[in-house]
Symmetry: C2
Subunit: 216 residues, 2 copies
């Protein structure tokens, strides 16, 4: 009985996600679902990405949080349109919440929409939003064992950004072993070691993102 309800919800989610995707496609907007644990660096990555795309691509942002609008305020200062979704306790964004936010997103005026999901390495993996690609940020202080413990999230990512590499000298974290583990779960995934603090690797990530947008 319980399982049946969950299946119905997921089926409904997929249908709404497809409608979102049609709307994005009709406006030629490329959509990125940004996911991670709490505090891995989603907002910092979005800020760094916006800065590097200024004058090249018109960006919009949807901010998903259980509560507060701290991140949306930080992003609004960069002069890009930003819409806050407060999930009111829900541990992930879903296609319907995303759909509800879209009338407030100026889709005609943007080419790239970055959606920051709720900080959670489990539940967001189960709900597509209508995005073109899924990006997972996994930060070095979380440890290099995360792919073993949260395999679905790593399995479904198009790119994994290993954030906070500036902290590597102070941590036990084997970047090569971590990358190998991820590729064992997900052969197609792109892996970028980055630091939103020093800027390391951000240009490579943004360049790859730009290529994905061109491909559609």
């Amino acid at each position: 009985m319980e399982i049946k309800v969950v299946k119905d919800i997921l089926g409904a989610n997929e249908q709404i996600a497809q409608k979102n995707r049609q709307l994005f496609d009709s406006h030629h907007v490329f959509v990125v679902n940004v996911m991670s644990s709490p505090g891995a660096g989603k907002t910092s990555l979005i800020l760094e990405t916006i800065k590097r795309l200024k004058g090249k691509t018109r960006v919009g942002v949807v901010e998903g949080d259980i509560s507060s609008s701290l991140d949306a305020e930080a992003i609004g200062k960069e002069g890009v349109p930003v819409v806050q979704i407060n999930t009111g306790g829900e541990c992930h964004l879903d296609a319907n919440m995303t759909s509800s936010a879209l009338p407030s997103v100026p889709l005609k005026d943007i080419e790239l929409l970055l959606i920051e999901n709720v900080g959670n390495l489990v539940c967001p993996a189960e709900f597509t939003l209508g995005e073109n690609i899924r990006v997972l940020i996994s930060s070095t202080p979380e440890g290099d064992d995360k792919p073993f413990k949260y395999p679905l999230m790593f399995h479904q990512a198009d790119a994994v950004l290993i954030n906070k590499v500036d902290l590597l000298p102070y941590l036990k974290f084997d970047v090569d072993a971590f990358s190998k583990t991820i590729r064992g779960i997900n052969q197609k995934v792109k892996v970028f070691p980055i630091s939103c603090t020093t800027g390391e690797g951000i240009d490579q990530w943004v360049s790859w993102l730009f290529d994905q947008m061109k491909k559609g």
Copy 2:
């Protein structure tokens, strides 16, 4: 309709949690529900706690993970009884999963049971397991804005351990502001700055835990 189902599940959870609690009480076992984001240091804290309680208190551990038994293996090496729960995708432990594990836990032989929840700052807060106290580990690299974004978890904690304070020189994290924010949400909470790497603050935490056990 959907909300009703969730309410029924939570009601059922509470009933099973009370039965778990009766079982723990009848064996004079004090139970701690250890929660945090992925990679904040739950297993490291449990290992450090076990080491300091050797010869003082007989400890058992229940390990909750979506998949893998890496943490249980690490804890088993300390010579304490450990039982692994693999949730098979579920993003939190609940009272029923805990109950299913208890026949494998030697309750007669232990005085303290540490339950490591799934790494998730959202969902575990909604499901009591029958524990005496809830401990939340919030690590410095996650940032000092977490109480604003995940208020329920901070609201329900009996103690918040600020882990990885050895990384403070390399991060923007204001321990005083963070502590003040937590106390704004939860006046009774105890806050311990700790490092499982250097050992800082662990004795204070263990001493407090020991006091809670005596109080029952």
